[in-house]
C-alpha cells in the first residue's frame, strides 16, 4: 500500500474510513478541533451527527451499534466532553456494546499540569472500558484505531476509548493502514470444545424438562437462526433475558417469555422445576436469578458462554461450553436428538393463562377509566404489525414495554439492561433510526427519563430523524414509587414530579406532537403519529399508581413470584 503524508487528524478520519465507518456521533470542543477540521473534508464519506450533549452522542452510538451489529463511533473533546461520556461507557461495558470513542486531549507537554479542560480520561475510564489508550504522537494513530476496532468488536464486545493529544492531531507522518487481526495477549473467544458439546448433548438428550434461557450473547454472535434451529430440533421451550429479547420471534410456539423480576410467571417458576437448564449467552444477572441459593438447584446447568469469567461466576455450570454462541449452538445442533416436550411446554401455556387472567388482560385491555402503559404498548406494537424497533428507557414503562411489545425481527429491542440508565431511550433511538432508517423506531420513555436527555429533541429536529416518541407520563418516578408503595409504606419520598407541557416543548423544537388523556383518543393518536412523516412526540397521561406485576421482591426466590400485591 502506498503511503501518504497526512496530519494525525486526517489519519483519524482515514483510519475510520478503513474500518468502514460512515456514521459518527459527537460534539466538538477545543482539544478535538483539529479532528473536526479534518472531518470537514470528508462529508461525502462520513455523516457526523451533532448531538446536544456528549451523553446523547454515546447513547446514540450504542443504539446504532445495537441495531446494526457494527461498532458505534463517537467523538468528544477533553475534560467535560470526555467526562460526559462516562455513563454511556459504563452502560456499554455492562451490556457488551461495541463502541469506539475518541476524545481530544490537551497537548502532551501540558499533561498533568491542570491545563484548561484537562482531565485524566484514561484513569477515569479504566473501570468502564474494555480497553483504552492515550495517543501522544501522530504515528501511533492508525495502529491504535485498528486495535480499538478489533478489541471493541470481537469476543465479548465492549467500549474502547482512545484519548488523542492535540499535538498528535497536528503531527505530520506517512499514513499507512493495517487492520488488526491478532493481539498476543488477547484471545477473543475459545474454539468450542467438541467434548464439552458432547457432554452437553448427552444431558440434553436425556432431559425430561429442559429449559433454554437465552440472552444478549445470541444477538451479539448473530446466532438467532442457530437458536431457533436448536430449540425446534429439541422441542425445548425457551425464555429470554431483557437483552435477549427479539432474538426469537415473539409468536414462536417455543418462546415462553421473559425471565426475571418483572418477567413472565411460567419461565420463572419453571426454572425451578426444570431438570436441565441450558443458558445461552446470558450471565445470570441478579434480576434474573432472584435469590441465588434458591435458583435452579434441582437442574443440571449447561452454560454456553463466550466469556470464561462468566462461567461459575454466579451459578455453577455442570457443563460449561466456551465459545461464541453461534459456533457452540451449531455444534450442539449436530449432537442433539430430534425431540419434543409437548406436556412440559403445555405447563408453560397453563401458566400463561393464569398470568393473562390475573395480570396481562388488565394491563393491555383495561376496563378501568385511567389509561395503562400496557395498552399503549399493545396498540403501538399492533399498529406496526409487531415489526418495529423498540427503544426503551428505564423503569416501569421499560418492563411493561418489554413484556407486551411483540417482535418479528432480531436486533429490534434497544434498552439499557445492566446499568439501568435513565435518559437512554431518546438518544439511543437516534442511533437506532440512523442505523435502520427504513424501519419504524419507537422511543418509549417515562416522564422522568425523558427529561434526563430531553435536549436531544434538538438533534432529532435538526436531522429530521423520523422517531415515534411516546412519553408515558404518570407524573411520578413510577418504579421507585411502586417500591415505596410496596416496601416503604407508601412514603413517596421525592418521586412526584411537576412536569412541563411536553407538547409545548416538542412544538418549540418544531416537532409534531399530541397529548392523550383518555382511551377514546388513544388509537387515533397512535395512528396519527405513525402516519405523520417525521418525528412525533406523543404524550400519554397514564394512571398514577399503576404497578408492574408479576414481581419477584428483592431477595426472594423466583418460585415466589407475585402476580398481585
Amino acid at each position: 500500500m502506498a503511503t501518504q503524508r497526512v496530519s494525525g487528524s486526517q489519519a483519524v478520519i482515514l483510519s475510520l474510513l478503513e474500518e468502514g465507518v460512515d456514521t459518527i456521533f459527537g460534539y466538538p470542543g477545543g482539544a478535538i478541533m483539529p479532528i473536526y477540521d479534518a472531518l470537514y473534508d470528508f462529508d461525502q464519506q462520513v455523516t457526523h451527527y451533532l448531538t446536544r450533549h456528549e451523553q446523547g452522542a454515546i447513547h446514540a452510538a450504542e443504539g446504532y451499534a445495537n441495531v446494526t451489529g457494527r461498532a458505534g463511533v463517537c467523538f468528544a473533546t477533553s475534560g467535560p466532553g470526555a467526562t460526559n461520556l462516562i455513563t454511556g461507557l459504563a452502560d456499554a461495558q455492562i451490556d457488551s456494546i461495541p463502541l469506539v470513542c475518541i476524545t481530544g486531549q490537551v497537548a502532551s507537554p501540558l499533561l498533568g499540569t491542570d491545563a484548561f479542560q484537562e482531565s485524566d480520561v484514561i484513569s477515569i475510564t479504566l473501570p468502564v472500558t474494555k480497553w483504552n489508550y492515550q495517543v501522544t504522537s501522530a504515528e501511533e494513530i492508525p495502529e491504535a484505531i485498528a486495535k480499538a476496532f478489533h478489541i471493541a468488536t470481537t469476543g465479548r464486545p465492549g467500549p474502547v476509548l482512545l484519548d488523542i493529544s492535540k499535538d498528535a492531531q497536528f503531527g505530520m507522518f506517512d499514513f499507512e493502514y493495517k487492520k488488526c487481526t491478532k493481539i498476543r495477549s488477547y484471545l477473543p473467544e475459545y474454539p468450542v470444545d467438541p467434548f464439552q458439546v458432547k457432554a452437553a448433548a448427552d444431558i440434553i438428550n436425556a432431559a425430561k424438562k429442559p429449559l433454554v434461557l437465552f440472552g444478549h450473547g445470541v444477538i451479539l454472535a448473530n446466532a438467532e437462526e442457530e437458536l431457533k434451529e436448536f430449540i425446534e430440533k429439541t422441542g425445548i421451550p425457551a425464555a429470554w433475558t431483557l437483552l435477549g429479547l427479539s432474538s426469537l420471534p415473539s409468536d414462536h410456539p417455543l418462546n415462553v417469555g421473559m425471565l426475571g423480576m418483572h418477567g413472565n410467571y411460567g419461565p420463572n417458576i419453571k426454572t425451578n422445576e426444570a431438570d436441565v437448564v441450558i443458558a445461552i449467552g446470558m450471565r445470570f444477572d441478579d434480576r434474573v436469578t432472584g435469590k441465588v441459593a434458591a435458583y435452579a438447584r434441582q437442574a443440571k446447568i449447561i452454560h454456553l458462554e463466550i466469556d470464561p469469567a462468566e462461567i461459575n461466576k454466579i451459578i455453577k455450570a455442570d457443563v460449561p461450553v466456551l465459545g461464541s454462541a453461534k459456533k457452540s449452538l451449531r455444534m450442539l445442533i449436530g449432537n442433539v436428538n430430534q425431540n419434543s416436550h409437548e406436556a412440559w411446554v403445555q405447563e408453560f401455556r397453563d401458566c400463561d393463562k393464569i398470568e393473562y387472567e390475573k395480570v396481562i388482560s388488565h394491563d393491555i385491555h383495561p376496563k378501568k377509566v385511567g389509561l395503562t402503559m400496557g395498552e399503549v404498548i399493545r396498540i403501538a406494537s399492533e399498529k406496526t404489525n409487531n415489526d418495529a424497533i423498540l427503544v426503551t428507557d428505564v423503569g416501569q414503562h421499560q418492563m411493561i414495554a418489554s413484556r407486551y411489545f411483540k417482535f418479528s425481527q432480531p436486533r429490534s429491542n434497544v434498552t439499557s439492561g445492566g446499568l439501568g440508565t435513565m435518559g437512554y431511550a431518546l438518544p439511543a433511538s437516534m442511533g437506532a433510526k440512523i442505523g435502520q432508517p427504513d424501519r419504524v423506531v419507537f422511543a418509549v420513555a417515562g416522564d422522568g427519563g425523558f427529561q434526563m436527555t430531553i435536549q436531544e429533541l434538538g438533534t432529532i429536529a435538526q436531522y429530521e430523524l423520523d422517531i415515534k416518541i411516546i412519553v408515558l407520563n404518570n407524573n411520578f418516578l413510577g418504579m421507585v414509587r411502586q417500591w415505596q408503595q410496596l416496601f416503604f409504606e407508601k412514603r413517596y419520598s421525592f418521586t412526584e414530579m411537576k412536569n412541563p407541557d411536553f407538547v409545548g416543548i416538542a412544538k418549540a423544537y418544531g416537532l409534531a406532537s399530541q397529548k392523550v388523556t383518555s382511551r377514546d383518543q388513544l388509537e387515533d393518536a397512535v395512528q396519527e403519529m405513525l402516519d405523520h412523516k417525521g418525528p412525533f412526540v406523543l404524550e400519554v397521561v397514564v394512571e398514577k399508581e399503576d404497578n408492574v406485576f408479576p414481581m419477584i421482591p428483592t431477595g426472594a426466590s423466583i418460585s415466589d413470584i407475585l402476580l398481585e400485591p
Binding site: S123, L126, P308, A309, K313
Partner: protein, 180 residues
C-alpha cells in the same frame, strides 16, 4: 475460609496497566498485602506478584477478571506452599547500640542477616526471608530502637521445573490461529 494466595499476572509492558489490575481488587474491596512488578524471564513480558488473603472462590473469580484485561496474558494463583518466595527487609539502628553490647551482633548472626553499612550514626542491617522471619528480626532489633524499616513486596517463583507461561504462550498461539 480466607488464606494467603500469591497471584502472578503476566502482561505486556503498558502504561496504566498497573491501575487496570489494581482496580479489579479495589472494586471488590480486597486489600493487596504486597505487590511486586518486575520483568519475567521472557523478554518483553512483565510479571506482577500480588499477595492477598481471600477465599478460594474469590481468588478464582479475581483471576478470571484479571485474565479479561486485554494486555494481560495469563494469571495464576498459588498458595505459599506451592511457591518459593522471599522478601527483603532493611533495618536502621543507632550506632551506639551496636557498640554498647554484642547483642545486636548476635541477633544478626543468629538470624542470618547481614550488615550492609556502618556509619558514625547508624548501622543498616539487611535480612532476606519470609514475612515472619523479617518481622521477628524487627521485633528483636526494636528492643534497641529501629529508626527506619522497609520491607519489599514478595517475590515468588513456582516449584515447577519450567515457566508455565512459556507453555501457555505456545498454546495461545495455536488458539489464535484456530479462531478466525
Amino acid at each position: 475460609m480466607k488464606q494467603e494466595y500469591i497471584i502472578t499476572v503476566f502482561s505486556e509492558d503498558q502504561i496504566g496497566l498497573l491501575s487496570r489490575i489494581t482496580i479489579i481488587f479495589t472494586r471488590r474491596k480486597i486489600n493487596i498485602d504486597s505487590l511486586t512488578v518486575s520483568a519475567s524471564a521472557i523478554p518483553g513480558i512483565f510479571k506482577f506478584t500480588i499477595v492477598i488473603k481471600e477465599t478460594l472462590d474469590r481468588v478464582q473469580k479475581v483471576v478470571g477478571q484479571l485474565e479479561k484485561v486485554v494486555d494481560v496474558m495469563k494469571a495464576y494463583f498459588n498458595t505459599n506452599e506451592e511457591m518459593i518466595c522471599q522478601e527483603i527487609a532493611l533495618y536502621k539502628v543507632p550506632i551506639e547500640e551496636l557498640f554498647e553490647s554484642d547483642k545486636i551482633e548476635q541477633i544478626v548472626r543468629n538470624s542470618g542477616a547481614r550488615i550492609l553499612e556502618i556509619t558514625r550514626e547508624y548501622v543498616v542491617i539487611e535480612k532476606t526471608g519470609h514475612t515472619n522471619e523479617t518481622q521477628q528480626l524487627f521485633d528483636e532489633l526494636n528492643v534497641f530502637g529501629v529508626t527506619q524499616f522497609n520491607r519489599s513486596g514478595r517475590v515468588a517463583i513456582t516449584r515447577s521445573s519450567i515457566e508455565k507461561l512459556s507453555e501457555f504462550l505456545k498454546e495461545r498461539d495455536a488458539l489464535l490461529e484456530q479462531v478466525d
